[in-house]
């Protein structure tokens, strides 16, 4: 059997049956990040019409191991996965969960995220800083904007992209946030507002950069045959792909093109049997305004240098031809640090047609793509409400 045939066999074999956030999102000094996990899991399991005791596969990334999460919810799991390659880890783990479920290694998988990114409650950072400590921190690097800014400047140099075009991404995303009651920033925003906001690291002003919040999110999956018995309309995982290229930005082979993203998309699209032009809804990891355009370019949906064109009025915006980041994104809805769980939650809700004012009419096929680190790793999902 060819590799492609093996991948195709996995397509639509597993469904997302439950999604939810923690009870609250935002500034939550009264909650540890472990509580954010537990809230999200109990909420998502309820959304699926299942019980926490049904969960037997635990997938999580970040500071807590899947063992800690299992213990916290009182489950002795049959399967654990703690792959941590940055904020896209949760997207990648949906693919890992498909494999584990398909092969009967577990029956109900939960992918869980909790992060006290703003308040730092119950946080114990443990990072390998040997290389950045020598080659980056002495120069003032540290914090994601100081790395992604370099990618962005080089893109402007190579492709002539402008500050106004990056700002348009924030404007489009804010329009969606205005329609999402859970979004943190919902006031109208203009390109001028972005350009006039506080400079942080040129080419980024503060409104080019995601929020910093406390939040949790969880996604529950089971095999398609069992999904029929769950509470909500199942969302099929038609394709999943992952990639990982570099960690240190100096090691990125092409500073304006994410090889990890390209590979993740290629695999996910092949598994699903879809093309980039087939999607009617897109969720992209927007830690910075320049991220989503570069992801569209690496995924092959846009030519190099032209990803920004997707964010023009009437395209990505409410009522537009190809809605992008309909929850309001990391830029305006929430961004706890490892944002990747939230685009999956939103895509699932859109495909269930339960999004109220921000519902994309008749959406059938959603693309979820996220990065880890600085376009270092990537995960792509093709989700559909049809098999």
């Amino acid at each position: 059997m060819s590799d492609l045939a093996k991948m195709r066999e996995l397509s639509s074999s597993v469904c997302i049956v439950g999604v939810d956030e923690s009870d609250e999102l935002g500034t939550l000094p009264g909650k540890s990040q472990l509580s954010l996990h537990v809230e999200a899991i109990t909420n998502a399991v309820r959304d699926a019409g299942l019980k926490v005791s049904d969960v037997d596969g635990i997938f999580t990334a970040g500071q807590h191991s899947p063992a800690t999460i299992g213990e916290a919810i009182g489950v002795v799991p049959r399967y654990v996965d703690g792959t941590t390659v940055g904020g896209c880890s949760f997207i990648i783990m949906v693919g890992h969960a498909v494999l584990a479920l398909h092969h009967g290694l577990c029956d109900v998988a939960v992918v869980s995220h909790g992060e006290s990114g703003r308040s730092g409650v119950g946080v114990s950072p443990r990072r390998d800083t040997a290389l950045p400590g020598q080659f980056e921190f002495p120069y003032g690097f540290g914090g994601a904007p100081t790395y992604f800014g370099l990618i962005t400047t080089r893109h402007m140099h190579e492709h002539g992209t402008t500050l106004e075009q990056w700002a348009q991404v924030a404007v489009s995303t804010r329009k969606w946030a205005a329609l999402n009651p859970k979004a943190r920033n919902r006031d109208p925003l203009t390109v001028r507002d972005v350009l006039d906001s506080r400079p942080v690291v040129w080419p980024f002003n503060i409104l080019n950069i995601c929020l910093v919040t406390d939040a949790g999110g969880a996604v529950v999956l089971t095999r398609a045959d069992r999904a029929k018995d769950c509470a909500k309309r199942p969302v099929y995982v038609r394709g999943a792909g992952e990639g990982s290229e570099h960690v240190m930005l100096t090691q990125m082979r092409d500073l304006t093109f994410s090889e990890a993203t390209r590979r993740s998309g290629e695999k996910a699209f092949a598994m699903a049997g879809v093309k980039g032009t087939d999607f009617d809804h897109i969720m992209l990891y927007d830690a910075f305004t320049s991220g989503p355009p570069l992801m569209l370019e690496a995924l092959g949906l846009a030519k190099r240098g032209e990803g920004v064109h997707f964010f023009a009025e009437g395209r990505s915006t409410p009522g537009g031809k190809l809605p992008i980041n309909t929850n309001g994104g990391g830029l305006s809805y929430t961004h706890s640090g490892m944002y990747g769980i939230f685009p999956i939650i939103e895509a699932t809700r859109q495909l269930r047609h339960e999004c109220g004012a921000r519902q994309v009419p008749n959406t059938k096929l959603s693309l979820v793509n996220g990065m880890g680190g600085m376009l270092s790793a990537a995960g792509t999902l093709v989700l559909s409400n049809e098999r």
Binding site: F135, F137, G140, L150, T153, P199, V200, W202, P203, T250
Partner: protein
């Protein structure tokens, strides 16, 4: 002593020749003896061919400004250089890219362009540690 910047920490054994070179005013980089390619950061196997036969060469110190940004705030409290500061990625003539600061130029995006030629200079932090930085070729006193 009150330093303006965090010292490179921890200096790992694999990277010691780089920092000893910088202390002596030389930009030393690893070079694979098997495939002949220089690389950064220092490691025990070549990232191009995985050979364990790795030596060191002195780089010319010339290169181009591959990308840059202008930091108006620095999160690291140990970094006390007055902002704005130009954070940069330089591509050395030999090929490897490193992160650094661009000095000897106004921190103004209109005065700086990608691919402009740059050359190394060293800022002494302590008797043991100097930091490689870059300035535009033929321009600007540090």
């Amino acid at each position: 002593m009150d330093l303006e910047r965090p010292l490179p920490t921890p200096i790992t054994p694999e990277c010691r020749p780089y920092w000893e070179g910088a202390r002596d005013g030389k930009l030393m980089i690893p070079k694979c003896r098997a495939c002949g390619k220089p690389f950064m950061y220092p490691r025990v196997a070549c990232p191009f061919c995985a050979s364990r036969d790795v030596g060191w060469v002195q780089a010319t110190g010339r290169g181009k400004l591959f990308s840059f940004e202008i930091a108006h705030q620095i999160l690291n409290k140990a970094f006390k250089v007055k902002t704005p500061v130009v954070l940069a990625m330089v591509e050395l003539e030999e090929g490897p890219r490193i992160l650094t600061n661009l000095v000897g130029v106004a921190p103004d995006p209109k005065q700086i362009r990608c691919d402009m030629p740059v050359e190394v200079c060293f800022e002494k932090l302590t008797d043991q540690v100097s930091l490689p930085m870059f300035r535009p070729v033929g321009g600007g006193a540090r």
